[in-house]
Amino acid sequence: MDGAVIGIWLAALLTLGIMSFVYRDNLYYKICEAIFIGISAGYWFITFFWDSLYRIAWIGIVHEGRYVLLGGVILGAMMLMRLFGKIGWIARWPLAFIVGATAGLKMMVYFTTNAMAQIHDTVYDTVTAFSGGDLYNLIGRLVILLGTVTGLIYFYFSKEHKGIFGGVAKVGTWFLMITFGASFGYTVMSRMSLLLGRIEFLLTDWLKLVK
C-alpha cells in the first residue's frame, strides 16, 4: 500500500465522519471535529507565522529595511501584555489602532464603491435605457429605479412605516424579498455541487465504483 492510498482512505474516513453529523451527533463526528479543530488551528498559526511574522515583519524590517513595520511589531508586542495581569490594559492600544484603522478605511471604501458607484450606475443605466429605445430594457431599468428607491425607503429609520410612506416601504420589502429569493435560488445549485464533489470522491477515488 503506498502513501497515496493511505491518504485517500484517511480522507474518505474523515469525510464519512463529518457526514454522519446530519444523522445525529456521535462519537465518530466528535473525533473528526476534534481533529479538524486541532489541525486547522495549527495550520493557520503556521501560515500566519511564515507569511506575516517571517515574510512581512522579519524580512521586511531586517532584510529590506522597512522600519515603518516596526510600529506593527511594537503594537503586536503590546497585545501580548494581556498575559501580564497588571499591565494588561496596554493591549487596548493595538485594539484601538485596529478599530480606528478599520473605521477610517472602510468608511471611505464603502462610501466610494458602494454608495457613489451604485447611485451613478442607477442614474446612468436608466438614462441609457431611455435613449436606447428598447422597451424590454426600459422596463427593466425603471424596475431597478423603483426598487432602489423603495428599498432605500425601507431602510429609512426616522419615519414610521405608515400611510403612503408605509406603502412605499412595503414595496421596498418586496424588492428585498425578490433579491433574497434570487440569491437563494442561485445558491441551491452551488450547494448541491459541493456535496456532489464529495460523493464523487467517495464513489470514484475511494470505492472506484465509477470511472
Binding site: 476534534a34 486541532g38 428585498l176 445549485m189 456535496l195 464529495r198
Partner: protein, 224 residues
Amino acid sequence: MKHQIPMLILSAVGTLLVVSVFVPSAQHWGEDATLYFDIIAVFAFFLGGGNLIRVHTEKVSHKSAGWIYSVVTLLGFGIMLVTGLFKIGNPNGIAGDLSKSGSYFQLLFQYVMSPLNSTMYALLAFYVASASYRAFRAKNTEATILLVAAFVILLGRTALGVLLTNWIPAQLSVLQIPNLAIWIMNAPNLAGQRAIMIGISLGVISMSLRLLLGIERTYLGGDS
C-alpha cells in the same frame, strides 16, 4: 489614562486614514495599516493559541466529559506546529515554500484538513434542502414573493427550465424561464442589491463616525 490614550489612538488613526485617501503621497498608508494589522494578528494568535491549549489541557487534566477529544485536538495542533515550523519533509528544507508538495505539512493539509473542510462545506446541500422544505412556504405576501423569485431562478439556472418552456415562441422568448431568470437577476434583484449596498455604506459611515468620535466604545472595555 487607560481610556483617553486608546480613544486618542483610535480617533487619530481613523482620521488620518480618511484624510490619506485624498492625498496622493499618503494613499499607501491604508496598505501599511493593513500590514500592521497582519502583524498584530500574529501576535494576538499567541493569545488565541494559548487559550486553545489551556482550555484543552484543563479538560484533560480534570478528566472532564469528553477529555479524550481534547487529547486529539492537542495532538493535531502540536503535529501541525512541529511539521510547519520546522518544515519537516519539505524538499527545499527550511527555506522552502510552506505549501511545497511533499512536505508533511502539505500532506496533512491535503489528506486531513482539505477533506474535512470540503465535507463540512458540503453539508450545506442537506441543510439547503431541509430549509427549502420547511421554510420556503407561501405563508404571506413577502414569503410568496421570495418563493416565486427563488423558484424561477432555480428552474432558470438548470436544464429543467429550458425543458419546461422551450415551446414558447421566439417572439415571447422573454417569458422562457431561463430568460425570466436572467431578467430577475438583472432588474429587481439588482435593485434590491443596490438598496442594500447603499444602506450598508451609510450604516458603515454612521457607525465609523460613532467610533471615531468616541460615542461607541464598549469594545474597549471597562475600568478594571
